[in-house]
């Protein structure tokens, strides 16, 4: 499966190379708002993205056992095929180092997803999307606990910037929230369905300096977006156990060609774990690095360059 995926990526890259770009519009923009790709919560945009690597470090107690240090190194590649519709490929390499016993490592199940942008409102910095993720059973290593069965997760996504708040509360305008709500549907009946919730509350200093108030804040601070992410998995049947999740405060730094992100991973309850973890992420803006290849749908679409309506919708 991985060989197939890599060959597919090469074929896609070759195909992309023969498509001459029209207008380029990637990143997650809605009106004046740039929605950054968040680390734990998938953003609502169906655009080209290359997130590699995402490295997380946890100390998890296995069920009733001693502490295990877990390091996850993940990557994701998203490609917009048609305007507002993308395909997403991701996988994670996991290293497990138990305090007692032998270390092991391996790939998690390969994941294939797709997302479709349904509603966009530039004036209100709002977007709503739907998608589905397919965690392909049996493609990961059994030694690190990858499931032998597949799980489908239909999901709804949203993003809302607060730039349309009244001018009487200007300092609230840089706030934005993105979120996703999905349902894990395993193909093996013995396993529980689970509600997946992810939220990200952001305060964009870029937005503050560009649209609200030039405070004179120097770089690199004005290029930062402090945020808090919240993720939760709540099994709903078949003895799935209590809900688990994390609260992740952190910051994103936006540079010209990439985004750096770092967050603490704080367990939301004792069922999640007793220890704080960390996660760092590099998101490469390859639409900026290779604008003739990325940053536009593979087939059709793209904004009209002749459009002359500043402030209008970007897509």
């Amino acid at each position: 499966m991985k060989k197939f995926a890599v060959r597919g990526a090469i074929a896609a890259a070759a195909l992309c190379g023969v498509i001459h770009p029209r207008a380029v519009m990637a990143h997650g923009f809605e009106g004046d708002r740039f929605f950054p790709p968040t680390i734990e919560t998938d953003d609502p945009f169906a655009v080209d993205e290359l997130s590699i690597p995402t490295v997380s470090l946890f100390h998890n107690p296995p069920d009733g056992g001693s502490t295990t240090r877990e390091i996850d190194i993940g990557g994701e590649f998203d490609k917009e095929l048609l305007p507002g519709w993308d395909l997403e490929f991701s996988d994670v390499f996991t290293l497990l180092h138990p305090k007692v016993g032998e270390s092991t490592n391996g790939w998690q199940n390969f994941s294939l997803g797709s997302k479709l942008e349904l509603i966009q409102n530039a004036d209100h910095e709002f977007i709503f999307s739907i998608g589905c993720d397919w965690d392909i059973g049996g493609t990961g290593g059994r030694s690190i606990g990858a499931n032998s069965f597949s799980t489908f997760t239909p999901t709804v996504f949203f993003g809302k910037g607060l730039g349309d708040l009244p001018d009487s509360v200007p300092m609230l305008k840089p706030f934005a929230i993105t979120g996703e709500v999905g349902e894990d549907l395993p193909t093996e009946a013995a396993n529980p369905n689970a509600l997946e919730v992810g939220l990200a509350l952001e305060y964009s200093l870029l937005y503050l300096e560009e649209n609200v108030k030039d405070t004179g804040m120097p770089h690199p601070f004005r290029d930062m977006i402090p945020l808090v992410e919240f993720t939760m998995t709540n099994p709903q049947n078949r003895g799935g156990g209590p809900a688990t999740g994390n609260i992740d405060p952190g910051v994103l730094y936006e540079s010209r060609y990439f985004q750096l992100g770092a967050e603490a991973v704080i367990p939301m309850n004792r069922h999640t774990g007793p220890n704080v973890g960390f996660i760092v992420n590099v998101n490469i803006f390859f639409d900026d690095m290779w604008p003739k290849i990325f940053g536009h749908p593979l087939f059709g679409g793209g904004p009209n360059l002749a459009e002359n309506n500043p402030g209008g919708s970007a897509k």
């Binding site: 990637a26 560009e210 649209n211 060609y257 360059l305 970007a314």
Partner: protein, 118 residues
Amino acid sequence: MKKLLLALLCCLAGLDGAYAHAFLDHADPRVGSVIHASPAEVKIWFTEKLILPFSDVKVVDAAGNEIDKRDKRLDPANGALLIVSVPALKPGRYTVTWRATAVDTHVTHGTFTFAVSP
């Protein structure tokens, strides 16, 4: 992993010049500022050079009337500086709306206000 790197190299082969989205770096009058004398021009410095025909800037008054002189232009010495002239501005609040198309055709939008005080 080697094959993944190979795929990335395939992408690198298509590298033909690196540019980026044009973000507002700073403006004159400054974003959200209150000034005491009317400016002759509104200037916006971007982080990237722009394509003028596909970029725009408008200045409107509190009533929503466009009051700029519709003479948008790039500074001849700085392709990232977008300028539009304005008449003598009366005291009040003004909104600047811009659309920036960078030289690699990335499009960004933005809006900010400034006020002229008596």
